[in-house]
């Protein structure tokens, strides 16, 4: 049998376009556009400026906590506490504000978010309590603290000027949406451009390899939950302004929507893969769905069923895609 020589460097055929459309990149935006077309066709009000501004304002809280959740999930962890943090932040923010003024209140709110996040981080990185458990404890504990501090009652009488954050506009864009956009941009920048962001992916992808590569795994984890806490702090302040009172019952099950947004966006729940860009899409899907279904008068009970189906669909489509390659 003879040796058949081929040309030394035979070009490998590249791919035909139809077979490998980058669905990963255009799939979800396409879904969002289709949702817009669908809802707009049934109720023309969907496409009005007023409604879209409304959506932007509605999704901004979810967007804010989802940024933090993205960090937690990317690091192969999870933050179940963000919903409850909204409540403790709101209560502390309002109480401080009544005493020391608007600026102090805002600061105190963000600070308490950061402190709770730091505690999560220390429990996870130093005491090595699994993230699910540590943040579950925080979910329960922070809610309890919010209820205790407020006596279970709303804290009213906040200054009118504080209203601006939740209800104001700059150039016709709702301020909460602007804040959310800024935080998302910062989150995006951190993950894609900083060495800390890179370390988050490495820790989430293979903690042991990351450790052997000289990454300070504990520090990365602490920072991740600290960031998530800060995001919840900012969200809590904005939310407090929207309802113009301190509310110990705010944010129930919001952590689950944040997780859903991250997962629908296409980040891997097991960590190491994804990003804020994806989460933004996930937040938009949930936000538009909620708004559109309201406009076409689907009851809020039925909406929950729809969201459940969407979560499964999103992950299933992702799985199919990754199985194909």
């Amino acid at each position: 049998m003879a040796t058949v020589e081929t040309e030394s460097k035979k070009e490998r055929r590249t791919l035909s376009l139809t077979r490998w459309v980058p669905w990963g990149r255009i799939g979800l935006p396409l879904v969002i556009v289709l949702m817009g077309v669908f809802f707009g066709a049934i109720n023309p009000n969907f496409w009005t400026m007023t409604n879209l501004t409304n959506v932007a304002r509605q999704v901004s809280i979810l967007a804010l906590i989802s940024v933090g959740e993205t960090f937690a999930i990317l690091s192969a962890g999870i933050d179940l506490s963000v919903g409850s943090l909204l409540a403790i932040v709101s209560v502390i923010c309002a109480q401080t504000m009544l005493e020391y003024g608007v600026a102090a209140g805002i600061l105190a709110g963000i600070l308490i978010g950061a402190v709770c996040g730091l505690i999560n981080g220390l429990l996870i990185a130093k005491a090595r309590i699994p993230p699910f458990i540590a943040t579950l404890a925080m979910l329960v504990g922070a809610r309890g603290a919010a209820l205790t501090l407020s006596g279970g009652l709303p804290i009213a009488g906040l200054p009118k000027s504080f209203l601006t954050i939740g209800a104001g506009y700059i150039l016709g864009i709702p301020i909460p949406a602007i804040i959310a956009a800024i935080v998302m941009l910062i989150g995006y920048f951190i993950l894609s451009r900083t060495s800390f962001g890179r370390s988050v992916y490495a820790v989430g992808g293979n903690e042991e390899a990351a450790m052997l590569s000289g990454i300070n795994v504990a520090r990365v984890k602490i920072l991740v939950y600290l960031l998530s806490g800060i995001c919840a702090g900012i969200a809590g302040v904005v939310l407090t302004s929207r309802v113009i009172s301190g509310q110990p019952t705010l944010g129930e099950v919001q952590e689950l929507y944040a997780i859903a947004a991250v997962v629908i966006g296409g980040s891997k729940i097991s960590g190491g893969y994804g990003g804020v860009g994806k989460t933004v899409l996930g937040v938009l899907v949930l936000g538009l769905l909620n708004n559109g279904l309201n406009l076409i008068r689907v009851s809020s009970y039925v909406q929950l069923i729809v969201i459940g189906v969407i979560i499964v669909l999103a992950v299933y489509v992702d799985l199919l895609r990754s199985r194909r390659s």
Partner: protein, 511 residues
Amino acid sequence: MNGEEAIKPFLEMRGIVKQFPGVLALNRVDFDLRPGEVHVLLGENGAGKSTLIKILSGVHTADEGEILLDGRPVHIRTPHDAKALGISTIFQEFTLVPDMSVAENIFLGRFPSLPGAAGFVDWKRMREESAALLRSLNVEVDPRTPVRQLGVAKQQMVEIAKALSMQARIIVMDEPTAALASAEIEQLFRTIRELKARGVAVIYISHRLEEVRHIGDRATVLRDGEKIGTVPLATTSIDELIRMMVGRELKEKFPKVEVPRGEEILRVEHLSRPGVLHDISFNLFRGEILGIAGLVGAGRTELARAIFGADPISEGRVLVKGQPVQITSPRDAIRHGLALLPEDRKRHGLVLGMTVAGNITITMLDQFTRAGVMDLRKERSLAQQFVERIRIATPSLDREVRYLSGGNQQKVVVAKWVGAQADIFLFDEPTRGIDVGAKVEVYHLMNELVQKGAGVIMISSELPEILGMSDRILVMRAGRICGMFHRSEATPERILDAAISGEPVYACMEA
């Protein structure tokens, strides 16, 4: 040659085409297999060897082409189909369940039932049959041990036992010896010869050409997804095989450069770890490559991990550049200028879901980060250098490493550690699974390191590489150093002798 042609193949693969995103992995490849033969698949990293056998074992489906078994076309869509047709496969990347016992892994998916009580597992029988299998392979493992606790070599033997237990007609072995040392390899070869005698056919993939010539009957060479040819091994020289694989002549297999020995850079004194390492002392100099040989389980990996702070030590001390240092974590080690290229690339070496560039540069973040912000352009050019240098076959820097072939993954691990800012390099099986051409490139990289004044410790189960590249060679046995040889006095016999029956040597310090 014509006489052989007459033997009818019982397996044929015809015109196999497989396309991955950005890569044509196989382009109209033909392959055939005769009863009782060992048919070797050769080719550089990424040539398509594993892809071909994955198509045969139902992991991938071919885009085009057909498979005939006993002259009849068969459709193999899942690993289960392949098993039903009598094809059993040892994959390059392990497929064991870490938290299950050895016995459970061997019988995974076909646990024996208790007589008369279907659905109830006959644990006793499973354990006994596993133990018998392992004994026939000369492996000392309790079948009840969780696989997680085994090193790669033992895991490899369990994979082999598992494939053997299926009573297949065709056994596919994708780099079964990459993790093994000579004694285990001999054992494996004995087993393969027994299989041959029973008419079982073996498809065998390896980058160790000497061993391939030793065990194989015919070889098919792939290059860039194309079949270059099939040749009888008895009449084909290694150089000819290499030329078919890489398309050019390979001048030197071990481009050793003698570098004058510098000052002492690492000193290990009386290092112990209960049950694993016993009173180990040696030193390493700038400009030196110190080879560590030994059988599998001799404690070489454990020694590297202990020095690097990945495992705790109970006694002894480590001096770096003359100063005693406390190394209790890999971060400490890295701070003192150490780098460890780990043996198990999937578990310790790579972040599989991260890109090629991301993996290569993870140890070099400081080199292109300012005030926490990375200079992504600099990162890419850094990564690109390595990709070209050791020829990592990847369609782009942004491909996730999980999609690279095994050898190319290993090259990423090498790049990642060679580029780290360190001057004491602990390389644990650095060329495992890397093709002949790229191995030379890895040796060149090691030469560069020692020429720049670094010291390199190279743990390897490939004796030729140890002999070819080391200035000094330590031999380990049962957690002790049982021999030290200078380059000039080392022979394969002396090293093997020390590895199998050497007495402890405590005087491994040189001035």
